[in-house]
Symmetry: C2
Subunit: 206 residues, 2 copies
DNA sequence: TCCTTTATAGCACGGTCATGCTATTTTTAT
DNA sequence: ATAAAAATAGCATGACCGTGCTATAAAGGA
């Protein structure tokens, strides 16, 4: 089997263990058991526990970024301009990609937040945590700049502040859904997101 | 020495260890060393590791709730009505109490998020995590209801949605400040909070 | 003073962990 | 067929952990 494929299978076992039992239970033994492998087999693909964690975090980061950029490319593609309604819907869908609206995405958010929390005290993870945070800030900034060019943003808005605000809202929804399961359903999250976006547009365009 | 006093001193050692090295390093041994005690002494006041964690989480929860209610009482006290400007400033200050604007509050947020994350997989902590979340939702709801009564809220606002949105914003700012230290300074956080509150009020009142 | 209670301290056991190292099996290339 | 390489499996060590249990010191009341 392709080594990279094997590494990804192990990483997915990491995700399952993290989601079910937490990062502190994600030992080489538990991951190996989850993947149906012996501990020695896992260590054949990863030099040690740290390397496995870094790889898993990179894998999750890549997965999230890929989904975001797919939407961003469609939205910002100048060769296939979208109608205003399509723009608005595409923006909602793209930002909704970051929300744990279904079980699969909820797992991803839980795993990602676990890694981001661990990165606070583990230097080898720090860069990857900040990378996604910076990417999200850049992405929201671009969306807001596009909205301003299209006249769909209140003229007195400070884009830098609004980008922070939108990021914080998305992160907050993710955090609450991840840490307080069952208290924030998908419909409510979407309603909050739509309310926020509606509040950003000028009253005349609503 | 008063036993309760001793327990609180140990809890503060827990906070320091959690903030500096993370919850997974918060063992009885490390906490005892941080508190300048022998491990047996700590165990004289706490039956075991779980009881220590629950106590520390309760202690932090109580501290946060106390600060919030102090501001809430002042704001909602009908015997000493505030001018609109005072109301607005009091609301900002109260909500800012939840933000990690200085080192002390940043430590509290880091510790609290660590516990909230751990509560996801540890049933004995779950109730305390949800308690503070529910309290924050109730508090923001009351604030928005008060603003609506005073005519300081856009009339088309859905208070339930707006309360969720405000909570998510506060949680998001806390999360980013805790997990990405140095990327979100106090001034920016306050600017985001003020922008959000300003966007909630009718255009005529701005 | 003596005795009981409380506080402080620490040992020892069993468990989990990461990891260095080796053995066995399977695959691949020649 | 055979040698080399890759993959799988597992043992042994040392470290850290929670906890049951005991020992020593301090404090307080008779």
């Amino acid at each position: 089997m392709d080594p990279e494929e094997r590494r990804r299978l192990v990483a997915e076992a990491v995700f399952r263990v993290v989601c079910r039992h937490g990062l502190e239970q994600t030992s080489l033994r538990n991951v190996a058991a989850e993947a149906g492998l012996a501990i020695g087999s896992v260590r054949h693909y990863f030099a040690g526990h740290t390397e496995l964690m870094v790889f898993a975090m990179r894998e999750m980061s890549a997965r999230l970024i890929a989904r975001l950029t797919a939407h961003a490319d469609r939205l910002l593609d100048p060769s296939a301009p979208l109608t205003p309604d399509e723009q608005r819907e595409t923006v909602v869908r793209m930002l909704a990609e970051m929300l744990p609206l279904d079980e699969e995405r909820r797992t991803e958010v839980v795993v990602w937040l676990s890694f981001a929390a661990a990165a606070r005290t583990r230097p080898e993870l720090r860069a990857h945590a900040d990378e996604l945070y910076d990417g999200l800030l850049v992405l929201t900034t671009r969306i807001l700049e596009g909205a301003r060019r299209a006249g769909r943003l209140r003229p007195d808005s400070d884009i830098a502040v609004e980008a922070r605000r939108l990021c914080a809202l998305l992160d907050g929804l993710s955090l609450e859904s991840a840490f307080h399961p069952g208290r924030l359903d998908a419909d409510t999250m979407l309603a909050v997101l739509r309310a926020h976006l509606a509040a950003l547009t000028p009253a005349a365009a609503s």
